[in-house]
Point group: C2
Chain length 336, copies 2
């Protein structure tokens, strides 16, 4: 559901690449995109307009077409026997809905009522990197500042950056209609800028994106007493979110212990050698499946504190890949 | 000294704009740039090659021509009776050299031996915003992640970004010769990227830029026990550094108390109204004299903790303006 969107296309690519066991597949969308042709595993499919009956006989439905579409169609799919893996924020904080990153909390899948939520992109990459450290050293505090790509705001945002970037000398007066938030009153140029707003503001002064990182992290890590703070910033980067993370552990591991924990962590690639200028960057992480971690340093004042730089493709592990991995885990755990 | 550089030109502009009391002025440079014509206060000057004797009869010498030039010529200028205001890192951590941001520690000027150091750009804007809060609420911890503009790396870095940004579709393979550090072995594209290296790496895994922020902040604020951590990141922004700062106070002020302290702080402009999407951005701070602060939020777990977003023009308050303000303070305090 949402097959023609940026994440929908990545989902299709991941299903192919990972040889997901498929009997039948259908590609659904809104009326507007129905009729589009899609190639999948060497065969051509036509995108169909979603109706409640589209989900008859479906085992797993991957949703990535916006919160309102999920709210309308996910219950219909569940009613018809499907398990929905939903990539929107519609159900993430519902108590009966598991919010899952398979590397972190696969066991949460067991108690589902038909809907599994896929977390926010910036949350996924952070918990992938921090979970192996939490398991070994205990974790009590996270302070994260993000450096987020425009592709998280869709294809219109990418085009807006492209248009603005083409006029280097007039960046400050560039036309802006999409970012920081399409539905917001004011829009600001993103090219050659850094905009400290992603999603709308909550009443407490944090943005909804920041609150997602805070609340989702606690839910996924099953750690309500974990202190989490986030500042989310949009950058003129096309794809690849970066995060400057300060993490405070219950003990004081050595740098090599932290590196070892990440070296063997599933889905994580350690890129951390200052002597070779080796560290992750979004331009190089784009298109890759893994979460990259580098710039690891023990805090100079608190031996329990570490600083890390975490980068991943926000459309892949941050969305499409994680959804497909949830579907794989459902099969693996015989929950389908 | 360094009259033809990016900061040198901004110094000239500030001297004009602020009607600095000048009897005679001379513009100095290396042999390479000597002979360039400069307009100042409606008169034309020719840039002269610096020699030790250039400083005969000079009261105040503003230096911004790189550390090695300062090391060579600053002692010569001091020997001839000048006070040197040095914008390089050459003398900043020398015990007998005051490191000054006039809004914060003007009194440190009094015990100088002829050289006053101008701090690093990213340090200046941060201490301007935090000093009024430190005075009222006490300050014990800072964790900062920076979003830094390429103009801090000079005109070559600006041109590199410009060239790379013109080829949107080939960003990942763009030619890079300057950033992240001209003298380093490896160079990476900056357009549509975020590079977590500014300056070379120290042995402890922090970069020299990060260590500058840590050590200079303690020296300027006269607070050796203040815990400071920094992660410095270069962005595809031309001018204007941004900083995501977590500050922990000795007490728990209300949001309005923090805003009030900043509203009345010298050189600071409060830009903080989420309901109007009002917050600082580098594209809008470029060309301005002030330090802009917004996105102020009390930490959700620690009432003594606050998150702030601090933006300023790295060439103006981060360099040229602060140097000129130091010179003004020397006159005002009758130290010249």
């Amino acid at each position: 559901m949402g097959a023609t969107g940026a994440v929908g296309q990545q989902m299709k690519d991941q299903l192919e690449k990972r040889k997901f066991p498929i009997g039948n597949i259908k590609f659904l969308s809104s009326k507007r995109s129905a009729g589009t042709a899609i190639e999948f595993n060497g065969q051509s499919y036509t995108v169909e307009e979603a109706t409640p009956d589209s989900f008859d006989g479906v085992d797993i439905a991957l949703f990535s077409a916006g919160g309102s579409v999920s709210e309308k169609f996910a219950p219909e799919a569940v009613k018809r026997g499907a398990i929905v893996v939903d990539n929107t924020s519609a159900f993430r904080m519902n108590e009966e809905v598991p919010l899952v990153v398979p590397e972190v909390n696969k066991e949460a899948l067991k108690s589902n009522s038909g809907v599994i939520a896929n977390p926010n992109c910036s949350t996924i990459q952070m918990v992938c990197a921090l979970q192996p450290l939490k398991e070994r050293f205990g974790l009590n505090k996270i302070i994260v500042s993000t450096y987020q790509a425009v592709s998280g705001a869709g294809i219109d945002a990418i085009n807006e950056l492209k248009d603005q970037a083409a006029d280097f000398d007039n960046a400050a007066t560039a036309e802006a209609k999409v970012l920081p938030v399409k539905s917001a009153e004011r829009h600001f140029p993103i090219a050659f800028n850094a905009v400290p707003q992603i999603d709308q503001f909550a009443d407490n002064g944090f943005t909804l994106e920041e609150m997602k990182m805070i609340n989702e992290t606690k839910k996924i890590m099953n750690a309500q007493s974990l202190a989490v703070a986030a500042t989310c910033v949009r950058l003129p980067v096309v794809t690849g979110h970066s995060e400057s993370v300060y993490a405070e552990f219950d003990s004081a591991p050595t740098l090599e212990q932290v590196r070892d924990a990440l070296r063997t962590a599933p889905g994580v690639i350690l890129q951390d050698d200052p002597s070779k200028q080796e560290y992750p960057m979004p331009l190089m992480a784009a298109g890759k499946d893994e979460v990259f971690v580098g710039r690891i340093r023990q805090d100079l004042d608190n031996p329990n504190g570490y600083h890390l730089w975490i980068v991943s493709d926000n459309l892949i592990k941050g969305a499409a890949l994680n959804s497909v991995q949830i579907a794989e885990a459902l099969i693996e755990e015989q929950l389908i």
